[in-house]
Symmetry: C2
Subunit: 326 residues, 2 copies
Amino acid sequence: MRMIETDPEPFVRGIIDGNRRMIAKTITLIESNLRAHQQTAISVMEKILPRTGNSIRLGVTGVPGVGKSTFIENLGVYLADKGHRVAVLAVDPSSQRSGGSILGDKTRMEKLSAHANAFIRPSPAGETLGGVAAKTREIMLICEAAGFDVILVETVGVGQSETSVAAMVDFFLVLMIAGAGDELQGIKKGVLELADGIAINKADGENLKAVEKTKGGLEAAMHLLRPETPTWFTPVLTCSSLVEGGTKKVWETVLDHHQKFKASKEFLQRRKKQSLNWMWTLVEEGLKQRFKRNEKINQAIPLISRQVEDERMTPAAAAEKLLSYL
Amino acid sequence: MRMIETDPEPFVRGIIDGNRRMIAKTITLIESNLRAHQQTAISVMEKILPRTGNSIRLGVTGVPGVGKSTFIENLGVYLADKGHRVAVLAVDPSSQRSGGSILGDKTRMEKLSAHANAFIRPSPAGETLGGVAAKTREIMLICEAAGFDVILVETVGVGQSETSVAAMVDFFLVLMIAGAGDELQGIKKGVLELADGIAINKADGENLKAVEKTKGGLEAAMHLLRPETPTWFTPVLTCSSLVEGGTKKVWETVLDHHQKFKASKEFLQRRKKQSLNWMWTLVEEGLKQRFKRNEKINQAIPLISRQVEDERMTPAAAAEKLLSYL
């Protein structure tokens, strides 16, 4: 990596001017693990913070095969054509291990990446989901300070990343497809409950009948869950890359949610709560890191874990023992 | 509180002999916050550990009004009559604040509490859910060492306690009633996903039609969730205190699950995983406690939290700052 200046000012000015090269350089700074870079990054974030927050943050999840890239490209182009400035980010903690990354290949969103109003950024590298999500969160703020007013955060719906993404957006959209028969392919327990909206994709042609059935089932299922607020009841939408209007309908739903949450003051409340929760998540992660970096503890963990698994030590005694090494 | 001996042996012998007075005394020891008592408690737990694990651990949750006490009493009496030794424990972190406790009033389970094969224990007092759950977990082990072969752990389905209980049992049963119309009253997001089985209670008389409708809806909803294992698909049962056979059916389902999980080796795997997770939960809680007990941090938290809420500080910078005080 080339040397990066330690003066935060050029980064801050570059971001505010919407200079793409400087935005990219700041993101490199954010993603760097070097202590000096991290210090500069913190200064940059501090300075741009007053200019952040003015976007609609939309999270999109869905298992592979659900048509997520095409959906995001369609939505992104639709919004960019309307004059919105759209940033597309990704949270994919598996990208490093698997070699392939969602959004890693910009050609997957050819039209959108060529659009003057769009900015696409693949998932940051990182060893932990927490690390990846932390960086994505800061990149989101950088994009906001640079004037992007819609941030799409994509995640693949197979791991723990949905919770992280739902915790950083205003609206969490779950993309699905109708399965053969009653069942939805691969939907993970818990993901539905995070959804502010569900969209069944590939609602076209011969698929339509299965989609309608799935829609009915999902609506019934959502009825069984107590909504978190009287302001919003998670809707089940349909869309398709082959049929006009689905993308628009999804966006109108996001806007409807946005307006209702603004009116009820829940919009700001949710963001404040997200920020505080995020702080505590980072504190917890920091504490755990320090804990695991302790050499004595590190050495003791395998043996103590085995004793707990084999019921030769209670979890309480084991925890007490590990903590005593601190 | 009367003085409690620091020698673990009498406790251990008392428990193994199934001496109810000594079991109660050990539980008092477990619930004590005095350091000396806690030391003795750890020794006792260590010594009884090889005798634990030989029970079926059944968690039961449901919001107030669902008929939980009556259901548990019926199930408990049914099992105790069959010769099982049944312990009923409760996890209710609200019991201290609200003054009222589930199981606090033994007369609520008059028949069961009078049964020679049954042991009923109200929720331990505790400031945190973690504390209450920790104690309940140890009480469960004490009951197992004392020869109880069915442990029913009751919790009220309105807080965070379901997750704690689901994390300590072999089978997590969610009790429900049919609502007016389609909706189930008060079911919390996430609780359904923890369920190994769902039972719709009060399935009798005029209620039957609504129950059938709810059952169908729930079955469809459960179909939408990917089961965690191919070994088990969460069934939806019905039961009633007025109709014969429902309690028996629920128990047979628990046994069926037990046998299938034993055969697939998932039974032991789940328990091992639960123990390890529990150790880590306790470690995390210990770390957080130490963190919050730090005076400088304690003083800084309100101001820093406000700065994060007001977007004057990023969560990352705030976490870093708090951790730097350690």
